[in-house]
Point group: C2
Chain length 411, copies 2
């Protein structure tokens, strides 16, 4: 790649990181921070202006705050930095006090040794200046190598490893096994990713309560736990005493109930992805858990008792169907007709149909939920069959009607 500038101002030996950082600050004219691969602070410029709360937090605690790291993982900022050798622009993330900045990885070939951050909020760096940053990263490499940063600290790598698993960062299962080995964690034979979304941000106190509840639940064995704003993410496996997938459902409803009972924390939504045996599926399991949560928000009543991905049933495919419907719209004729009839006669046939079908065509159940006599329901169903030209004994037709009714609710 052709360099945009003529000369490399960092092509000289630096005695220390501080010396280097002073040079970078002088060249770029904005606050600069250097951290190692574990996000521990190594050096920072004393520039006055343009320091946001994320940077302050980093300097104070000598480490990038966990909240910030988690968010940067989730936004795929760190994965991208790890993959590229060039500088990246990171847009503002208000919630974690992170203002506009650029960053680049310091690397020795494929291995990432650390990162340089520059807060260029005041005056955006030009493409040429970003290229300079790359030279600076090159100059940092020998300095970081000298620091023997390779000694990885278990506690600190743990979090990165967790996110790398969830983001599908690893190519092969061998890599993952290697990581487990290096971190001295035994790799469970099976696992699932669980996600809990709280109404409030999770405080340190609540986090303690969470840890306590998980430890005492006797249902699952927890392997990884991370707290991020109002989300709690777990990688867990069934407790040896009951090695069945069902335990996840049980654990989630247990957890939600007990958080209410014991600590009066309400409104938690929880979900679980599929159980897998190979950790290269961790990303899949995580995405599944997120999908369950999203659907639970869209269909709170329907999915009230659903916690596990496979319980979603046809809701799994609702977004795929919705996408198809957007490209080739199709109004279900029966729904259209019933809608019109309802409007003209003040009836309630469409809802009746929906309740009946979604409750497995159980007449008594549907009548109960609709507060009508069973015979009324049967009469209505007869009319619905006539008006909508529907065969309510045909599973395929019923499925389509129900799907279309659910999609209708999304619009």
């Amino acid at each position: 790649m052709k360099e945009l500038h003529e000369t490399n101002p960092f092509k000289k030996p630096f005695g220390s990181l501080n010396e280097l950082i002073d040079n970078i600050t002088a060249v770029l004219g904005c606050p600069v921070t250097i951290e190692d691969a574990n996000h521990r602070l190594l050096a920072y410029s004393s520039h006055e202006d343009g320091t946001d709360s994320a940077r302050v937090g980093t300097i104070i605690s000598q480490r990038v705050p966990e909240k910030v790291i988690n968010r940067l993982w989730k936004e795929k900022v760190i994965p991208r930095l790890m993959q590229t050798e060039t500088a990246l622009r990171i847009p503002t993330i208000e919630e974690i006090g992170l203002r506009d900045r650029v960053a680049i990885s310091i690397r020795k070939n494929q291995e990432v040794l650390g990162y340089i951050w520059a807060v260029d909020e005041q005056k955006k760096l030009s493409a040429e200046q970003l290229s300079l940053l790359k030279d600076a990263a090159g100059a940092a490499t020998p300095l970081l190598l000298k620091l023997h940063l390779q000694r990885k600290r278990k506690k600190e790598n743990y979090q990165d490893f967790f996110w790398q698993l969830l983001m599908g960062h690893y190519q092969s299962n061998e890599e993952i096994q290697q990581q487990f080995y290096e971190l001295q964690i035994t790799m469970p034979a099976q696992f699932a990713v669980l996600v809990f979304r709280f109404e409030q941000e999770i405080t340190g106190k609540v986090e303690e309560q969470i840890t306590y509840l998980i430890a005492t639940s006797q249902k699952i064995t927890n392997h990884f736990l991370i707290v991020m704003e109002n989300e709690l993410i777990l990688i867990a496996s069934p407790h040896p005493s009951q090695p069945d997938e069902k335990v996840f459902k049980e654990f989630i409803s247990y957890f939600i109930m007990e958080m209410d009972n014991r600590f009066s924390i309400r409104g938690i939504k929880g979900s679980s992805g599929t159980i897998y045996h190979s950790f290269d599926r961790a990303e899949t399991s995580y995405q599944q858990a997120l999908k369950v949560l999203k659907l639970k928000e869209q269909f709170p009543e329907d999915l009230q008792k659903v916690f596990h991905y496979h319980q979603l049933g046809i809701f799994q495919y609702l977004d795929a169907i919705l996408k198809e419907k957007k490209t080739s719209p199709y109004e279900h004729p029966a729904i259209t007709k019933l809608e019109n009839y309802d409007r003209l006669h003040n009836t309630n046939f469409l809802e009746t149909l929906e309740v009946f079908v979604q409750h497995d065509s159980n007449a008594h159940e549907a009548a109960r939920l609709l507060f009508v006599h069973v015979n009324t329901l049967n009469y209505r169903l007869k009319r619905i069959r006539e008006i909508g030209d529907l065969d309510l004994k045909n599973a395929y037709e019923k499925m389509a009607v129900l799907v279309d009714l659910k999609i209708r609710r999304l619009q």
Copy 2:
């Protein structure tokens, strides 16, 4: 657009089309045909070599054979020719005796007056020669205008109009109304597109029988009919006596049965798209009918009694779901488990589940179809619930299982 050649050899007045065509043949060195917008033959070169059966047919009957026109519509050749001013290459279509050739529309501004065809099978025309063809088309314009080709003949325009409707060629409903008016056809208030696929090619004799059957059916009123190889396409509306959508289903099964009874023609598959009130949806209805046929081929037993698009039920969405599954594969855990169990114990649980669910959870029906005692079925279902961790009272779960089972059959 910059012309590829220096001079335009057709930039002189021609006394007749034959004079022009002799010039084109001389310049391009291959057989050339000129036809009007209704595919009537206007002039043709007497070149000896490289004449395929499509061209022979055209010359003999003074018109492009219907079979060829229909196919060119279906392959979107004619729509593309109508849309562009430049020459197009048409690949060989063996079945209709059409060999490699190029074609271009002759036009006065937006209006298409006719077409020039050149069979360059022997020696492919170069890009420069294709550009010459454009000049030739320009030279043909005044000659075709002189012929007063504007007088449109009803019978001949009919077919083009039909295809234009099916291909969604019209932008607005006004245009369509105008066309109906010009062709002196009254526009029905509603319509649906029906497609029948025969096992054999439809001969003239069979076509007569078809026309006869439709005319005497008393169920539908037919407005357009086209026969293409082994396909019969209709635009029809319900007979005034029973103005309901159901008549299409009835007509299709009636038609299939009577073609067998009366004329011993078996193996016809028929389908119908949705009924619409505006002809700008003709393309949609046609596509729906085709989709029904396609699915009937993929699921012959399941869709044996399905003729109308809306009867497809969830099958409508199967391809959308399949596409989704390809991007993010998900094995249904219950299916996997049952499959394993079946293999280990020589049981038949997976099929039992499929038959039960697809027949609307009707135990007696399913037992009958599986040739087992009802209690056996119930026992199996109990085991299936246990092994697969399935809730067979949950409509959503059952839907997903059934969908996954059907998709499984596609693979």
